[in-house]
Amino acid sequence: MPTSEDFGAIRLTLELATVVTLLLLILGTPIAWWLARTRSRLRSSVGAIVTLPLVLPPTVLGFYLLLLMGPSGFLGHLTQSLGLGLLPFTFPGLVIASTLYSLPFFVQPLQNAFEAIGDRPLEAAATLRASPLDAFFSVAVPLAKPGFVTSSFLSFAHTVGEFGVVLMIGGNIPDKTRVISVQIYNHVEALEYTEAHWLAGGMLAFSFLVLVAMNALKPRQKAAEP
């Protein structure tokens, strides 16, 4: 049976994934929009930076975050001078790291959805007196709804399943940074295979259900308006 520690890890993980997904909706959406629409020469560089967490081993990202957020790092200097202390071993630290790590999982599907809209509906909106911001909310967002569904579900599931980055900067503190994946690792390492099975199996089922829900929620692609 799952222990109370396990339940703590589950609660913390869901909390983390929720906060991260909300944060990505706020931060990732403009990035996806910019990448989908810009003709700037910076596009490929910014796109690459956003995609980087997808190809980097999480431990690499975690290690650099540990350095960056540490007392000698840029972020560490910043948070300390703002009186926030240091980010490693804290929940906000995990949130920031997970947000970075899940960024490509959020941005890419949404960027594709934005690109699929094409110029025409936005041009129509402009000729109907909608400012670019207005057109974004009244045309682009509703048309990209399937993209938002995919992006949110993927980032949520990905944050739940994230391990390497958390391991690097978490410090295994109960109710603060000890998430499910770390708890599974602890169980496996301690040869507590029964407990590990409870959590690992649960995670497998959860991830499967999330993906099923995502596909069910995604509206069928309607034939493009002729």
Partner: protein
């Protein structure tokens, strides 16, 4: 015609198999904390015996799971006593082949000079941010650190300051990057040739914790491998012993 070709191919394959079997190669699973000294020892071992040691580094718990599931290792150099014992009980290690190849020493270390005093009194004052230790449930160094804190009656007081690395390597990383002000790490991680490399440290007296015995065992797969037996013997020799000591381990 075709038959002769087939025969040749089969013969060639047999030759290949026998060649790899007779090559004196030993595959060794090495606890991550012992990586550096083992590389040196393996180089000498090859020079002195002609056998080749192929090293894999990793966490002892993972090695256990891998070996139980048929990983091709001949010898395990664990970070603890329990794992080789358990493998022997499981029948995955050769009975009676276990021996202690090194005894780890615990040190309280900080990269900041002068933070850690010679008696570890810094712990009582508790004027620091985070204290890093290895996960006591997983890593022997972590268990030793908790034991030390308990003996010093500081475990409860410092509980809120403790951050855990999943292994001793990660614990060292927390401290080295100064995200934790100080931490209990392996003496082998902070000394070179018997001297502290940087910062300040307190070598925890042996009476405060159970010795961290790192045991080795010959695994079932290495039972008939002369190179495996040779390595086990070599590890107990004087030459290997000197290297092990120079990295901050006891024998």
């Amino acid at each position: 015609m075709e038959e002769t070709i087939m025969k040749r191919i089969v013969f060639g394959l047999l030759l290949l198999c026998s060649a790899s079997a007779s090559a004196d190669e030993v595959r060794v699973a090495v606890a991550a904390n012992f990586a550096a000294p083992m590389q040196k020892i393996a180089a000498d071992f090859e020079k002195d015996t002609g056998h080749q040691a192929v090293l894999s580094f990793g966490a002892t718990g993972q090695f256990y799971a891998q070996i139980r599931n048929g990983a091709p290792f001949d010898v395990l150099l664990a970070a603890d006593e329990e794992t080789p014992m358990r493998l022997e009980k499981d029948g995955a290690a050769m009975a009676g082949s276990r021996f202690t190849y090194a005894i780890g020493k615990l040190v309280l270390w900080s990269p900041s000079p002068g933070l850690v005093d010679a008696r570890g009194a810094v712990l009582e004052k508790a004027g620091f941010g985070h204290l890093a230790i290895a996960n006591p449930r997983l890593a022997p160094y972590g268990a030793a650190a908790m034991e030390t804190l308990t003996k010093m009656n500081l475990a409860d007081k410092l509980q809120s300051k403790i951050v855990e690395g999943e292994n001793i390597g990660q614990t060292f990383q927390f401290v080295a990057t100064k995200n934790a002000a100080l931490g209990f790490v392996a003496l082998s991680q902070v000394t070179k040739d018997g001297k502290l490399e940087s910062g300040s440290a307190w070598v925890v007296p042996g009476k405060l914790y159970t010795p961290i015995r790192q045991d080795a065992a010959i695994l079932s797969r290495g039972r008939n491998n002369p190179a495996a037996l040779a390595l086990a013997k070599y590890l107990r020799g004087a030459k290997a012993g000197a290297i092990i000591r120079s990295y901050g381990y006891d024998l």
